[in-house]
């Protein structure tokens, strides 16, 4: 009986949020574009007309045409194929970075918020130290220390953005902790870990969901920046930032080499931001309407 009521409450709440979200046109546009991006990443092999790494020296630096929609680069590779295939790398970097940061941040933040006192103080001061270096600078240094490469860049970005998640979850855990259900769980002698992960955390997680959606876009941005600086994806990997970095030498006469990958970064970041904004408004209706 108890569980059925619990389930029903949850479901109506969830569908209410979905209803509000689906009314938000911009968020829906964002969602549709994101779905398209994922389809593009999954079916990249079927979409691309040429192999993304195939070099063709008879067709070097060609302007966009019917054969090569986005033109070809200095090695005669088809830019359209590279950009489409690059969706895989850019999405993967964005999503995994957020996953790393969210897991690390949630763990640190929940311990700090749940135990409070000395644990909280020490953890927060450590985060202070991390945050006294600008995120991008920290990510650059970490990525350099770990060595260039996709996975190392993901770890570097995850660790350097982790403090934001930790602070967020800490604050919402602290808010939850005064509630009666926590007291009730303590009264039946539930272990700390059980109270934290089974009771408090699920209730405190909703600001995190908004933050995660908003952060995927940001992570794609930082990932492309790292790759552009040569610290993320390495050539010939067609990650968007890496494509831009390679195309930079031909900026003067072949601007199209830069335009399309940049537009792809912007479109994907924009869609995640639109969805994130919509989700925030749907979860927090106070900000909407008069």
């Amino acid at each position: 009986m108890k569980t059925s009521i619990g389930n029903r409450r949850k479901k109506t709440n969830f569908s209410e949020i979905l209803r509000r979200l689906s009314k938000n046109k911009l968020a829906m546009i964002g969602l549709v574009v994101i779905i398209c991006l994922f389809l593009m990443a999954i079916f990249a092999n079927l979409i691309i007309p040429y192999d993304y790494s195939k070099q063709d020296y008879s067709a070097v630096l060609q302007k966009p045409s019917r054969e090569h929609l986005f033109g070809t680069d200095e090695l005669g590779r088809d830019v359209f194929s590279r950009v489409v295939y690059g969706t895989r790398y850019s999405l993967r970097m964005g999503l995994l970075t957020v996953a790393v940061a969210a897991v690390l941040g949630t763990l640190l933040g929940s311990f700090a918020g749940f135990y409070g006192g000395a644990v909280d103080n020490i953890l927060m001061r450590i985060l202070d130290i991390f945050q006294s270096i600008p995120i991008l600078v920290f990510a650059i240094i970490l990525a350099a220390a770990l060595g260039p490469g996709l996975n190392n860049a993901i770890i570097a970005m995850g660790v350097s953005t982790m403090p934001l998640y930790a602070r967020l979850i800490r604050a919402s855990i602290m808010q939850e902790e005064g509630n009666e259900y926590v007291e009730a769980a303590k009264a039946i002698n539930a272990s700390d870990m059980r109270i934290l992960f089974r009771h408090v955390l699920p209730n405190a997680i909703s600001p995190m969901i908004i933050h995660i959606t908003m952060s995927i876009g940001y992570s794609i941005l930082v990932a492309s920046t790292l790759s552009f600086l040569g610290l993320g994806a390495q050539p010939p990997t067609p990650e968007w930032g890496a494509i831009l970095s390679e195309g930079r030498n031909h900026m003067r006469d072949h601007g199209y080499l830069l335009f399309y990958p940049g537009m792809m970064i912007m479109i994907s970041v924009l869609s995640f931001n639109l969805l994130g904004d919509g989700l925030r408004d749907a979860l927090d209706p106070r900000l909407k309407g008069n």
Partner: protein, 311 residues
């Protein structure tokens, strides 16, 4: 108040110490050998070992760490660059001006412009002004800074030839780097201002002000804006940090001899003292600005100083 500032300054010193340890450790695990970078590729193993000994790179972690901390904080000497053989501190002082100019100008312009746009958007909610502002700012936060910079160079420097594409010769050289740095920040501040302004506009004291016949302009500037700026102030500090980080990228693109490009070259060369120096200086500038902003925050928000004085 004085106690608060003193406490924060002391904490700043601890942070700087800790950051040095973190940076030192990261440089310790970094892959690659500075001795090999200094000597040519075909240097003999003996030469490399001898140089490593001379630089103290063969000592254990703790010995190197203590030596580095002692040098940095007791003798105020970050070391000599492996690459240029000049003291890192002198080199950084020559370069920090460019980086700080770009970061502060873009932070300042972004703040003023962002607050203005945010207020316009919030006070005309759902109008075309609001929609344009929201949409533009969404575009601007979603744009990669380095790509925008490249597009600016390609259009205004290479195609139109209005502004110099590279280097720093005159004030004109600052225009493109600053613009590429400040777009994202402006959009962020505008979004923040708009949402906190919208929160304030619905408060009772605004209704009171309206009821007593106050003009719209005065309600906005005297009442709503003053209160909604408080959350915005905290964003400005982190914005400055973002600009410092962004200047690393922008300096690379515009070949500006600032701390950022110095650091990136140093990373490529495994020039540990130069990387440490660069990060340390950036961290100190960033923390100092955050501290300054927190103090402004306390001064501006009477609720906060009230709470602090009562303790």
């Amino acid at each position: 108040m004085a106690k608060y500032i003193l406490k924060r300054v002391l904490w700043l010193i601890v942070i700087v110490l800790a950051v040095s340890v973190v940076i030192f450790s990261l440089m310790f695990i970094i892959d690659g050998d500075p001795a090999r970078s200094i000597l040519s590729v075909n240097a003999s193993q003996e030469d490399i070992d001898a140089l490593r000994d001379k630089l103290g790179l063969n000592d254990p972690y703790w010995v190197q760490l203590v030596r580095f901390l002692k040098q940095t904080f007791l003798e105020f000497d970050i070391g000599t660059s492996y690459r240029t053989r000049k003291p890192v501190l002198t080199e950084i002082f020559e370069r920090i001006g460019y980086t700080l100019t770009i970061a502060s100008v873009s932070t300042f312009v972004a703040t003023v412009l962002g607050i203005y746009l945010g207020v316009v958007a919030a006070t005309n909610q759902y109008s075309w002004k609001d929609n344009t502002a929201i949409f533009l700012s969404l575009f601007c936060v979603s744009m990669p800074e380095f790509w925008f910079a490249l597009m600016l160079v390609s259009i205004f420097a290479l195609q139109l030839g209005w502004l110099p594409p590279l280097g720093i010769d005159s004030w004109k050289s600052y225009i493109l780097p600053c613009i590429s740095c400040l777009v994202g920040g402006t959009a962020n501040i505008a979004r923040q201002t708009r949402s906190s302004m919208l929160g304030e506009i619905r408060q009772d004291y605004i209704t009171t002000a309206k009821a007593k016949g106050q003009t719209k302009e005065k309600i906005i500037t005297r009442h709503a804006l003053k209160n909604s700026l408080i959350p915005v102030i905290t964003v400005i500090g982190s914005l400055f940090g973002t600009q410092l980080g962004g200047s690393v990228v922008v300096e690379q693109i515009f070949s500006i001899p600032g701390v950022g490009s110095y650091m990136m070259t140093a990373i490529g060369f495994r020039d540990y003292p130069a990387v440490r120096g660069g990060v340390l200086v950036i961290a100190i500038c960033f923390s100092a600005v955050i501290l300054l902003i927190d103090i402004v925050y306390v001064l501006v928000d009477p609720r906060f100083s009230e709470r602090y004085n009562n303790q």
